[in-house]
Amino acid sequence: MKRLSTFNITSLTLGFAFLYLPMLLLIIYSFNASRLVTVWAGFSTQWYGELLRDEAFLSAAWVTIKVAVMSSTVATILGTMAAYVLVNAGKFFGRTLFSGMIYAPLVMPEVITGLSLLLLFIGLGLDRGILTIVLAHTTFSMCFVSVVVSSRLVSFDRSLEEAALDLGCNRFEAFRLVTLPIIAPAVISGWLLAFTLSLDDLVIASFVSGPSSTTLPIKIWSSVRLGVTPEINALSTLMIAIVTIGVIAASLISKRSAVRAQQDAQTAERTA
């Protein structure tokens, strides 16, 4: 077995300390009794209580979750379709433009996407609200979904799908019964990615949201600009906890399904 050199151990330790210390401090100080955020005055959960009594935060959280569920679901469907087209459809008119429109939003500055979508919605006469945020989030997160799903589709053995077609499935059945179960882990992680991207978005939502549709990041933004507050520390801790649990659960599920797939393959080999 290889052993890590001192240099490698040092860079891993420093690197992960750099990545995790800021969040760790945030979590520790969310349990601080003092309103002064850098002076420790004993353990307390009062900021969590105050957060849960704050109507504005709760309604913003609810709007954010609704938007995230809707946009990530539509984005997963569209993104999976787009990935399928990119990998399997071969040549068609405007293919370069299509793949360009998939990759460009991944790196496009949010201020430009936000501004351009707002101008579109105003041009169409759409009232700014939950619908416009969902449309905006779907558009950029479907591109992330299609990148995640297409990386799985590339390694997918197409002869399996052809076998299903030979055995009498139509194209949709072949996709649903053969392709989809195999690419499911990528589709699920695409959905999760779209969901967190939507939860997280401040800039695009600032452009396309109306007064009745304040999302959580917009609410956080307006209080963070005034400085560090223990309520925001508490809220951040809750969000970090939810994401951590979600990511660990998702990776355990995909690990288990990988193990099961391996077992299936072994049984198949033995019976063959």
């Binding site: 990545l19 969040m23 787009a82 087209v85 500055p109 579109l120 800039v203």
Partner: protein, 291 residues
């Protein structure tokens, strides 16, 4: 027919909600400001000929007369470039150590790199306010160790912006480099050493060129979004930190000058087209190499 529908649905969606909006931005950047909603003229309601007639390059000329704008573009380029290099120097050793780690650790290490990326961007930037401020943890720590006698001013300077960009974009740098290094065959290094290279020369002549694609992808993934960054300079930077994303946001929300904001966006997009096209080429080349 079904193939047509499969292509048409995502295609139409992206055309309508990605490409058409850019054309609208371009059109409005050529319009005049008006004190109405929407605050620009002419609009679609005025008919097609009026829509075309009222357009000119006035707003772009305006951008060249006020030196705020070109200073903002230049300083965004500078900040994005320097922080991309810093991210590379911080990220490469981490990616290298991950690729050298025993096989059974790698999945865990990879998850530890990805986890912060799933956590809210806003919160990760916010966390640094409490660390970098004058009474923040960093200054408290440095004062306690006796390394400094007066607190350092870091928050609201460009240094804080660099730290913020390196911190939030680090996973984007680590992952592509790690992916490239992990595929590398160790025997190549051994061969180089057998042939008389020192470890450092072997690293420079073998490891670096083999991880080139990862380095390029990582640098683009940091540089392009950093150039238009808004949240980091607004929260961590000071009044002296000029970045074009911030200028655009303020032009739009505070000055309500939509035509000028659109012109700022058009120029930013023109600057970005080159790195975006290069990035896409690199990705395609890699995808073809893997297939």
């Amino acid at each position: 027919m079904r193939r047509f529908a499969l292509i048409a649905v995502p295609y139409a969606w992206l055309l309508a909600l990605f490409l058409v909006p850019f054309l609208i931005v371009f059109k409005i950047s050529l319009s005049d400001i008006a004190l109405a909603i929407p605050p620009y003229t002419p609009t679609v309601k005025d008919g097609f000929s009026a829509l075309i007639q009222g357009l000119d390059f006035e707003n772009f000329v305006f951008l060249t007369t006020d030196d705020l704008y070109y200073k903002a573009y230049l300083s965004s380029l500078q900040i994005a470039l320097i922080s991309t290099l810093l991210t590379l120097f911080v990220g490469y050793p981490i990616a290298y150590a991950m690729a050298r780690a025993p096989q059974e650790w790698r999945a865990t290490l990879m998850m530890l790199v990805i986890l912060p990326f799933w956590t809210s961007f806003l919160i990760r930037v916010y966390a640094w306010i409490g660390i970098l401020s004058n009474e923040g943890f960093l200054n408290q720590f440095l004062l306690w160790t006796g390394m400094i006698s007066d607190p350092l001013t870091i928050l609201n300077t460009n240094t804080a912006v660099y730290i913020g960009i390196v911190y939030t974009y680090l996973p984007f740098m680590i992952l592509p480099i790690y992916a490239a290094l992990e595929r590398m065959d160790d025997s190549l290094i051994e061969a180089a050493e057998d042939l008389g290279c020192s470890r450092l020369t072997a690293f420079w002549l073998v490891t670096i060129p083999l991880s080139r694609n990862g380095i390029i992808a990582g640098c683009f993934l940091v540089f392009i979004p950093a150039l238009g960054e808004f949240v980091i300079p607004s929260l961590l930077g000071g009044s002296g930190t000029l970045m074009i994303g911030k200028v655009l946001f303020e032009e739009f929300f505070n000055n309500r000058d939509w035509p000028v904001a659109s012109a700022v966006a058009v120029i930013l997009l023109l600057i970005l087209i080159i790195p975006i096209v290069l990035f896409q080429r690199n990705q395609q080349k890699q995808a073809e190499a893997e297939a």
